[in-house]
């Protein structure tokens, strides 16, 4: 499983960074998602995926 993020879709909501701070953080300039660990798994990652308001996070 590999996580990918679509920074064009991202609306800088920070929901992912809130749900899984070890895996996602936000760019200090424009608040967009920054992926810290593309191989992470677990319930927090799943929660970040379902919680993202723009469906910018995928796991494939």
């Amino acid at each position: 499983m590999v996580i990918t993020v679509d920074r064009e879709r991202c609306a800088s909501s920070g929901q992912c960074a809130l749900a899984a701070p070890e895996v996602f953080t936000q760019d200090e300039e424009d608040g967009r998602v920054v992926l810290l660990d593309e191989n992470a798994t677990g319930p927090e990652v799943r929660r970040a995926i379902t919680g993202c308001p723009t469906q910018a996070i995928r796991s494939t």
Binding site: S12, S13, G14, L18, Q26, P53
Partner: protein, 383 residues
Amino acid sequence: MRPLPTDRGTCPFDPPAGMADEPLSRVRLANGDDVWLVARHDLVRQVLGDTRFSSEIDGGFRDVPLHAVRPEPGMFIQMDPPEHTRLRRLLAGRFTVQRMHRLRPRIEQIVAERLDALERAPRPADLVAEFALPIPSLVICELLGVPYAERAEFQRAGAHLMSLTGSLEELEQSLMSLGGYLTELIARKRAEPGDGLLDDLLDSGLSDEELIGIAVLLLIAGHETTGNMLALGTLLLLQHPAQLALVRQSPETAKTAVDELLRYLSIVDVGMYRRASTDLELDGQVIREDEFVTCSLAAANRDPALLERPDELDVTRPKAPHVAFGFGPHQCIGQNLARLEMEIAYPALFRRLPGLRLAVPLEKVPFKNDMAIYGVHRLEVEW
């Protein structure tokens, strides 16, 4: 055609009766406009996540028809991509989870000062005026970079703007005077920049009109909403003493409680409108171009498909993907700030005043049944 439900019936903490009767139906607003009402969690997410449901309208504010108002400069809540994206990205860096983390000590200090003031106030005290409204207002001043000496004036202008019981003329007047103050503030900042959000935006290519629009939007969005959540959430917890005790005792529970209270109360319910920019299909139904759509966030947040026992308040449950802050590219930009304010303020209040109780019967509490953002006008408390 049935009117948009507004009657909360027997419980002031539940969504208006009949709101969730049909997942998708036509309703008539008080201003005479007929709109689609969406009241199921998955459909609400679908509408708010799809920018073909355009945001380029005003909020159907008061009695104003939906198509009568043009978006003001800087009001990115009423814009679609790419303008919306451009403005939002300019601001979003100021609201990141990391930034909010750094704001925590300042918010703790503001909350402690308001608790001191509350303790000094004559009893019974009004929790709204002494605690719930000043906290977000002072936090917004801090964030925008409003000088200390002017915060009282700014708060007054903001509070006036928020008392939406006046006429439309009064509202326009208070907006004008706030706009006047902000014009002058921005001019002073151009001469001598400080370190607030407005200062940061001075060189970002925005016009003064856009800067003022942004400031007014952040003020409105960050002030009334959090203020209402603090007061209404406290009132709800006072009805559930066991849950309140959990919030007081455990910082972990104070965190989960915030999202549960947001979900359960959904104080912004049907205020956000969308316009179909082309013929669109929703749940097998064609929404014609230029028809308006509104979503009941309250109904969506009590949808049994979202979580188990949706009508039960449980401050310990893990955060559900609720839509209290909306959904899609417009989802509340200040949500992590709002969360932090609540996460700090509720337990601090319950710890400082362990004997906190309502000073009047629940039936005597003036609920904001007539307003876009739900809450209480006053909350008389004793301790």
